[in-house]
Amino acid sequence: MSIMRGDTTVLTRALGRTPYYVVAGGLAVIFLFPLVWNAWASVSGQPGTAQESGHGLGNYRTLLDYDAGLWRYLLNSTVVSALTVALTLGVSLLGGYAFARFDFPGKNLLFLLTLAILMVPYATLLIPLYVLLGRLHLQNSLVGLSLVLAMFQLPFATFMMRISFEAVPRELEESALVDGCGTAGALRRVLLPAVRPGLITVGLFAFLAAWNDFIAPLILISDSEKAPLPLAVANLRQQSMGAVDYGATEAGVVVLAVPCLLLFLLLQRHYVRGFMSGALKG
């Protein structure tokens, strides 16, 4: 801690003298450079790739034809992401409602157990999950993978939905109940619109996690036909007799990154709410 304090003080003093835009701009170049370079390299000519010279989409064509084909992997990734998002939203919506508005036996224990998922390393759970999914006949299945990914999302999602429900005035729900809605009706008609921002945040985090996850499919999916895109692109590198196809990998990174960057830019506000909520503290 004391080392860090010293370093940053020196930095701030230096900052006082250096023009703001030189430091901030220089850092911006460093942060953007790898992204820009990768996008550019993916359409540029390189020996040993499908795009030998000039500029074009040769590397993307390699990707389309690789093994089961880009569309297959995109479909796998889309299925896993959609299922994970749907499961996370469904479970945390109901769970958040229960934790925020109801008293039931075991409530605190269940909430603590859900948060405890954060304390247990990913790898510790994946080894037994590999065996367990086998027993449930969900080994090597996109559904099994989605269930596992949704479970890892639950601590953040449940916490986020609980505080979203707690922020809704009780009167709103009570008037719905007086008007003859059951709690399910109140949830659907009155509370759902009120907690929508929380749901968007939870969905966004779940999507980014599921789309990008690497170690869970690496362990749980053994059939290359069923690999999600990150795994497929990583496997692609070992293709063609030791010769490494950098171009196709760069194209793969672009296909992987574009949805994440777009979603983030579109939903930045909702992403930042995840940080503001304190939900990251668990």
Binding site: I3, D7, T8, L11, L15, G16, Y20, V23, A24, A28, I30, F31, P34, L35, N38, A41, Q46, G90, L94, Y97, A98, R101, F102, F104, P105, K107, L113, T114, A116, M119, V120, P121, A123, L125, P128, V131, L132, L147, A150, M151, L154, L177, G180, N212, F214, I215, I219, R237, V244, Y246, T249, E250, L256, A257, C260, L261, L263, Q268, V272, L280
Partner: protein, 321 residues
């Protein structure tokens, strides 16, 4: 005005007034019970998920760590404590522990220092600060595997641009082998991780900075405090909870490092960059010994719980002071 759980399955088009009279007739005790039942029903999916995919695997990994459990043959009965002694006797165990710790220390120091600098930069009210914030955060929107694949190309001795850039700047004379030696592989991976996560931690610190009331800074400025004094005596102490959260996340994340080394270095050169989680993966899926992998998993879990407990205690003490 609660409706009994069973009512939800009853014909739904009863008119509201009739419903109200019905529920008014119910005793408070019964209403409370039905409320309890409904809470349980809404919490049921969470309970099922947590039990099946968290509690059961946790128990199972404990059992596996005490059993002879080859990947293909399955459970062959108790052999405790052989898996644990095997894990610790593995030639890679202590080097992996040492390497993971070294990596964690370097990443944490560099990452948090840079994240703090970035947060201070984008916190200023200047034109363009919002743009810089977005730019610094962009890499965090990427997946770790995608970022690792990106840097694998970036560091490539044949197509990577970095060597020629450094050469043209006159910083190096010969092409740099970014992943060729154990030190360069470690530093190159640290650079990737700092690039990927600095914006994420910047955002946490920024939220912390914005929670500090403006008046505090203004009062200090009125009293003639310098920028350095304000930073040392106000910003840092008040930012402590956010810094502690960053520390916790960063240490935990780094101790469990896998993707970046699996993709960038594959543990090489000469197994010099094998992390503990990579060791678990190797035991399980290359040496096909799930029992030893489970024992390693339990060791990692124990270390992490201990560390979290220590950090929580430290946090609480910080809150009290």
């Amino acid at each position: 005005m609660q409706v009994k759980a069973a009512d939800r399955t009853a014909p739904t088009h009863r008119s509201p007034p009739e419903r109200r009279t019905r529920s008014r007739r119910r005793t408070p005790a019964r209403r409370w019970t039905s409320r309890k039942a409904q809470g349980l029903a809404y919490a049921a999916p969470t309970a099922v998920f947590v039990t099946v995919f968290f509690v059961l695997p946790l128990l199972l990994v404990g059992q596996m760590s005490l059993s002879d459990w080859p990947l293909l043959a399955g459970d062959r009965g108790v052999n405790a404590p052989k898996n644990y002694t095997d894990a610790a006797d593995s030639t890679l165990f202590w080097p992996a522990v040492r390497f993971t710790l070294l990596y964690t220390v370097i990443v944490t120091v560099v990452l948090l220092a840079l994240a703090l600098l970035l947060a201070l930069l984008v916190q200023e009210f200047r034109p363009g600060a919002g743009f810089f914030r977005t730019v610094y955060f962009l890499p965090s929107a990427l997946g770790l595997a995608s970022a690792s694949l990106l840097f694998w190309g970036l560091y490539s001795p044949t197509t990577g641009p970095l060597s020629s850039i450094l050469e043209s700047l006159g910083l190096v004379d010969d092409p740099v082998s970014f992943l060729g030696t154990s030190t360069s592989a470690l530093l190159s991976t640290v650079f990737l991780i700092v690039w990927k996560f600095a914006g994420f931690y910047m955002l946490i610190l920024l939220v912390g900075l914005q929670r500090i009331p403006h008046e505090v800074f203004e009062a200090a400025r009125m009293d003639g405090a310098s920028r350095g004094q304000i930073f040392r005596s106000i910003t840092l102490p008040l930012l402590r909870p956010s810094l502690a959260l960053c520390l916790l996340l960063c240490v935990t994340g780094s101790l469990l490092a896998f993707d970046q080394f699996f993709i960038l270095t594959k543990g090489g050169p000469d197994n010099s960059t094998v992390t503990v989680v990579q060791l678990i993966y190797r035991e399980a899926f290359q040496r096909l010994d799930l029992g030893t992998a489970a024992a390693l998993s339990i060791i990692v879990l124990a270390v992490l719980l201990l560390l979290n407990a220590l950090q929580f205690r430290g946090l609480r003490r910080a809150d009290e002071s």
